[in-house]
């Protein structure tokens, strides 16, 4: 799964010193500046999901501080489901799709709840969950959902949430998966401070849409490592904030700009190709070559398509000595966190070795 542009074996000598360095790091930790990890990437690529994952592996106090209470998660699940349903039914006329009178009544109950979100709670959701389930499974909505040339924006977690709707239709405790899958758009800059074996870390998350990027520069200083996230699943979609720009191109250009930026000359990158689970399903329906015109391999091969995309990103790196760790991941992949910290430990050792 994981690939490094440099192999651990390259630094055998340094690695031998790792225990000593670890110890020194711990001793100095009270005076150490926190190691700053910065999440970057376009909107909806999964930065906040990785943020949530990293936090979920920390001690109880950290988790408590940075995890919203269950009631918010529940409300956001309802909100995500209602938003998706109303998007799908509202776009139906553009597809010349019609509903029966009975279906229209069901639609109306959903739209009513959507227009009074203030009151949205378990009771209201329970009263309309059967209607939502019916609509989601209807021929009409499924054909809109499966349209290969989507003309609307839809949350990537829609299918996951819809398939769990029976569980949400009565009082429930959100699972870790629910929490990771539910979408909340980030604006501004969000920071979390925690310690791992007495070493202080600062994890920084940002909003990814174009209009948010002007804020990024405020957190570019002293970055230990950039965690760049790209949604590999978005080879066929356009930006939410600008429907004339393909998400793939935007993400690639953003990576090019960041990985070659003077701000991060000394910061190793971890490049996450996120949402591989969705990607594997999508390539069966939507040929990669239809959207990435210079791909002429096998559209149905995960290996070929994902390597092609990986290479596209790789070739944007101007400095051949730049350390970039690649990782293919998805929201529920808890290995992501391991990779981050192994990579960081690895690159820290390299930096220390440089100083010596």
């Amino acid at each position: 799964m994981k690939m490094c542009t440099r192999n651990k074996k390259d630094i055998t000598t340094e690695y031998l010193n790792s225990k000593k360095i670890d110890k020194e790091l711990r001793q100095e930790s009270s005076t150490l500046q926190p190691l700053k990890l910065l999440l970057l990437g376009s909107g909806e690529c999964g930065k906040s999901t990785i943020f949530k994952q990293i936090i979920s592996f920390q001690d109880e106090a950290t988790k408590k501080e940075y995890t919203p209470p269950a009631e918010y998660v529940i409300k956001n699940i309802f909100l995500n489901i209602l938003t998706a349903t109303s998007t799908l039914v509202r776009v139906a006329p553009n597809y010349n799709i019609e509903f029966t009178e009975e279906e229209n009544q069901k639609i109306q109950t959903v739209l009513n709840a959507f227009s009074e979100l203030e009151n949205l709670d378990q009771t209201i959701f329970t009263s309309i969950s059967d209607n939502i389930k019916y609509l989601w499974n209807s021929k009409q909505i499924q054909s809109i959902y499966n349209d290969p040339n989507r003309i609307y924006q839809l949350n990537d977690s829609t299918e996951y949430l819809m398939s769990n709707i029976d569980r949400y239709s009565k009082p429930f405790k959100p699972t870790q998966n629910d929490y990771l899958r539910v979408r909340v758009k980030t604006t501004g800059i969000v920071e979390a401070d925690f310690k791992i074996e007495a070493v202080p870390f600062k994890l920084v998350d940002v909003g990814g849409q174009k209009n948010q990027r002007r804020k990024w520069i405020h957190c570019f200083q002293d970055i230990t490592s950039v965690l760049f996230v790209t949604s590999i699943n978005d080879y066929d979609t356009v930006l939410e904030e600008d429907n004339a720009t393909s998400r793939f191109t935007d993400s690639l250009e953003l990576f090019r700009e960041m990985v070659n930026s003077n701000w991060f000359v000394k910061s190793p990158f971890v490049l996450f190709f996120n949402k591989v689970d969705l990607f594997k399903e999508k390539i069966k329906r939507i040929p990669v070559s239809q959207h990435l015109k210079d791909f002429n391999g096998n559209d149905h091969s995960y290996e070929e398509t994902s390597q092609f995309i990986k290479n596209k990103f790789h070739t944007t790196i101007k400095n051949s000595n730049k350390i970039v760790y690649h990782h293919f991941t998805c929201a529920l992949d808890s290995h992501a966190i391991e990779v981050v910290f192994n990579s960081i430990q690895h690159s820290l050792l390299m930096n220390v070795a440089e100083v010596l």
Partner: protein
């Protein structure tokens, strides 16, 4: 009562919230919400000019305060502002979306923050005396409007 309403029923808490957002480069949502709320109290004759100013400030690409909303919503609002004369409900839909966004993104974090806890314990705020921030001005206007509203 929604979370935002809980915050803005107290002028000082609104100031603490504004400071919290400001420190996180996330102030434009609240600032827009206040400006759109204050807009409703304007005289009808002022609405055309003000609605265009609000649009330029929060919806034009490259504006420092550009809101993070989707392409279609922005376009719908632009059409509305260009084609029709401004009315008190011109911004209602987006204002509501922005409120919803704050209530899912920033407010849960705010309610857990030290800023909030400190205020709840001491009921005092440490907003600089000479803070001339535009948003602080909007908060003052908001509370003035609200007071006038309850008197009428």
């Amino acid at each position: 009562m929604t979370q935002l309403e809980q915050i803005i029923k107290d002028r000082n808490l609104a100031l603490v919230f504004r400071q919290f957002l400001y420190n996180r480069f996330n102030n434009e949502n609240f600032s827009f919400w206040l400006e759109a709320e204050n807009y409703k109290y304007l005289d009808k004759s002022e609405m055309d000019i003000r609605s265009k100013a609000i649009f330029a400030k929060y919806f034009l690409a490259d504006s420092k305060y550009e809101l993070n909303i989707n392409f279609q919503d922005r376009k719908d609002l632009e059409d509305k502002i260009n084609k029709n004369s401004a009315t008190s409900d011109t911004f209602d839909r987006i204002q509501n979306d922005i409120k919803k966004h704050m209530e899912t993104d920033a407010i849960p974090l705010f309610l857990k923050s030290d800023d909030y806890k400190k205020y709840k314990e001491s009921q005092t705020i440490s907003v600089p005396d000479r803070d001339r921030s535009v948003t602080v001005g909007m908060i003052e206007e908001f509370f003035k409007n609200r007071q006038l509203g309850t008197q009428n």
